[in-house]
């Protein structure tokens, strides 16, 4: 650091973090809040994962083994809600908090106090949701979609679940506002929009998605609340309402919501792959436009989740073709990642392994999505394990794998210590093999007609379910390796101190690698003069 900058920093409020545990409660520092989000998300990943283990244990054999059907249905519902709202989304918000200011050369997030509030509101929301497990009548058991009239039969838990959704929604909205304000107003002078790392770009677009959809979801669950307690009849047929209306409102939120979980995934993949291919990202601007196209298309395809509710043929055709259209920008991305690796001097450290697995396995999940977009074919797939296999391929070996990749990629930067590469690779291979044992057979089960969200099944489905469960147990256990690595790396890891750029020539790819490892509590209090760009270097 040049003398003038150091002196300048010394002059001002360059105090470090507050002492003691209170630091984590009152912090407004983007790095601290990023850490809080990431740790919380990891904890929720294990909570949601334990629920998945209960589901797979019950489905290990036909017949009722461990839990009653009501609790089983609560588990599928809570697993989904915890993983979506407690693990994947907060993990990406955590990455955004840590990385966006460091990637665009900003001293912090634009609205640090709101940042703190949005984290603690998330914790409150998830705790409220978890508390429903102990209420009379059990936790919500209607699936994460909360379809009426079934969801209205939830016991005491219903209003608590709905308020929890409100809190989670407000928390995400505040996070999104913060990210938009940071990216628009806090960039270093040299960081023009089209020089931003793709992770920043994808988060900017994701934040706009959140702003647009979270209020709609809040509205939908508020309608459920008033239907149940205040005699409105939005979805109640007796009063002239219609349950199918809920599905339309829900999926207007729900479809963009699944892209909220995948767009930042694309961003991280686009950040990691060039570093380990030692090339610049292929087709930077097409990546930006493809992300924006996917975001736009996500708003006009929602009814493909409802092909079987009874739509006119024109509606089925429209939603079918519009859905197929999404394959084009998504294909652009997959080809760009492949072209980035093409003739690159690739090395295969853990972050790169997870990223490559993401490209391959996400594409498989994308292809099954394309199959389901065919409206007449969807009548076979609807509400079967084929759907379960599809969206788990796009979430687990895609979003979750990329979150793992991000962890391995940035942990040395965050902690200043190298993780143990051998255990990282072991974690990768165990995860990749077991995730396919876990989810691939579910395609067969679905095509053979096994419905989702059932605790018991016909004996013809026994073999593949057992194999799937075995895969599930291995996958679940393998994730403990990740927990070990995170703790181990924080405590010193291999003992090898990470260099500033950690990965060879990483400083040519992103500003964060020009900072020390670990970065000081405050970074870029003066903006960096020169920014690496996706186009110019290498």
């Amino acid at each position: 650091m040049s003398a003038i900058v150091a002196e300048h920093e010394h002059d001002h409020h360059e105090h470090g973090p507050a002492k003691g545990l209170l630091r984590w409660v009152i912090t407004t520092n983007h790095k601290d809040i990023g850490t809080l989000y990431l740790v919380f998300a990891l904890a929720m990943f294990f909570v949601g994962g334990s629920m998945a283990m209960i589901i797979r244990a019950e489905l290990f054999e036909p017949g009722m083994q461990f839990v009653n059907p009501q609790f089983f249905n609560s588990m599928t519902t809570m697993h989904a809600l915890v993983m979506v709202f407690g693990a994947v989304m907060p993990a990406f918000v955590g990455l955004a908090n840590w990385m966006i200011p460091m990637m665009i050369g900003a001293p912090d997030m634009a609205l640090p106090r709101m940042n703190n509030m949005s984290f603690w509101m998330l914790v409150a929301g998830v705790l409220l949701l978890a508390s429903t497990l102990f209420m009379e009548g059990g936790a919500p058991a209607s699936g994460w979609t909360l379809y009426p009239p079934l969801v209205l039969q939830t016991g005491t838990a219903l209003p608590f679940a709905i308020f929890s959704v409100h809190l989670l929604g407000i928390s995400s909205i505040m996070g999104a506002i913060n990210i938009i304000a940071t990216i628009f107003n806090m960039r270093a002078p040299a960081m023009t929009l089209m020089k931003m790392p793709l992770f920043v770009w994808t988060w900017l677009i994701t934040a706009f998605l959140l702003i647009a959809i979270m209020p709609v979801f809040a509205g939908a669950v508020t309608m459920l609340l008033t239907d149940r307690f205040f005699n409105t009849s939005f979805f109640d047929a007796a009063g002239g309402g219609d349950p199918v209306l809920y599905q339309h409102i829900f999926w207007f939120f729900g479809h963009p919501e699944v892209y909220v979980m995948i767009l930042p995934t694309f961003g991280v993949a686009s950040t990691i792959i060039p570093v380990f291919a030692r090339k610049r990202l292929f087709g930077y601007s097409s990546m930006v436009y493809a992300t924006a196209s996917i975001a736009f298309l996500s708003f006009i395809v929602w009814a493909h989740h409802m092909f079987t509710v009874g739509m006119p043929i024109a509606g089925e055709l429209y939603f079918m073709y519009a859905t197929m259209l999404i394959a084009i920008p998504t294909g652009v991305k997959v080809f760009n990642w492949t072209a980035t690796m093409w003739k690159g001097s690739m090395t295969f450290e853990t972050p790169m392994l997870f990223s490559i697995a993401f490209v391959v396995l996400f594409t498989m999940g994308g292809f099954t999505g394309l199959m389901m977009s065919v409206a007449p074919a969807d009548f076979q797939y609807h509400d079967t394990y084929f759907i379960v296999a599809h969206f788990h391929y796009t979430l687990v070996p895609a979003s979750v794998f990329i979150l793992m990749a991000a962890g391995y990629y940035w942990l040395p930067k965050w902690t200043g210590n190298m993780y143990d590469e051998r255990i990282g690779q072991l974690h990768f291979w165990l995860s990749t093999i077991s995730v396919n044992i876990l989810f691939f057979p579910q395609h067969f089960l679905g095509l053979a007609g096994m419905p989702r969200r059932i605790p018991d099944y016909a004996v013809q489905f026994a073999d593949w379910n057992m194999i799937s469960s075995i895969g599930g147990f291995i996958f679940g256990a393998s994730q403990l390796l990740f927990l070990y690595i995170v703790i181990d790396t924080i405590k010193g890891g291999t003992g090898i101190k990470a260099t500033d750029e950690v990965w060879e020539d990483a400083h040519k790819h992103g500003l964060e690698w020009t900072l020390p490892s670990p970065p000081p509590y405050h970074t870029f209090t003066t903006p960096p003069a020169v920014v690496p760009t996706e186009h110019e270097h290498i």
Binding site: M1, V5, A106, L111, G239, T526
Partner: protein, 218 residues
């Protein structure tokens, strides 16, 4: 270690919003303030942006509710979801199409929380489009209390709904049953001869809901 390679005093950095970054960078060397904390302009920009975003958020919350009437309008226009007129249509005479027969099926069901007997006098009938028919349903209150119940109709296939007209129906209003009362409920209907040829069977389904609690509260 990163280095500030050179200052920006000579160069102007104006972003798309017209904000001049170079000036504030200059200030951070001159004034005893750090780059952003002193920068009123960034704070103002943030506040403005947040206001705009909050307006969008409120607007989207409203949009969720706006989907409710939009949905009903769309269903009315298209006859989707088997939604049918909630009130009687005026009786108009159609030219009866004696050469065409359409089967009309009648289905009766009860909401699980509705203690009633409910059935129709016939399961199905063959009709000619354009001719008026009357069919009787029977409903009985199985409780010892007054019950206010409402029957919700639905027609399948949904696209046929707009051609199925009722001039009289017990479903147009709530029905009050005294304790243990049972009575016959007539429906008078006609199928518009404009019903597309491919529809050979139309199903009229009613579900009775016990609305006593809701009606009393209202």
């Amino acid at each position: 270690m990163y280095q500030v390679k050179h200052g920006y005093k000579e160069e102007e950095y104006i972003d798309s919003t017209g904000f001049n970054h170079s000036r504030c960078y200059y200030l951070c060397f001159c004034g005893n303030e750090s780059y952003f904390s002193m920068n009123q302009s960034v704070t103002q920009k943030n506040a403005r942006l947040v206001r705009t975003l909050i307006l969008i958020i409120i607007g989207m919350f409203g949009f969720g509710y706006a989907l409710v009437p939009l949905y009903d309008v769309l269903c009315d226009i298209t006859g989707l979801n088997g939604k049918v007129e909630a009130s009687a249509v005026k009786e108009v005479s159609y030219e009866v199409d004696k050469n065409r027969e359409v089967t009309v099926e009648f289905m009766t069901s009860l909401n699980e929380l509705t203690p009633m007997v409910f059935n129709s006098e016939m399961k199905k009938m063959k009709i000619h489009p354009g001719q008026y028919y009357r069919v009787n349903f029977y409903a009985e209150n199985k409780t010892d209390k007054v019950m206010i119940a409402r029957a919700i109709p639905s027609i399948s296939p949904g696209q046929a709904a707009e051609y199925f007209k009722k001039t009289e129906c017990f479903c147009f209003s709530e029905q009050t049953f005294k304790a243990r009362e049972g009575r016959t409920l007539p429906v008078r209907f006609v199928v518009d001869p404009a019903l597309p040829k491919e529809y050979k069977t139309v199903t009229l389904a009613y579900t009775f809901f016990d609305n006593t609690e809701i009606s009393v509260q209202k």
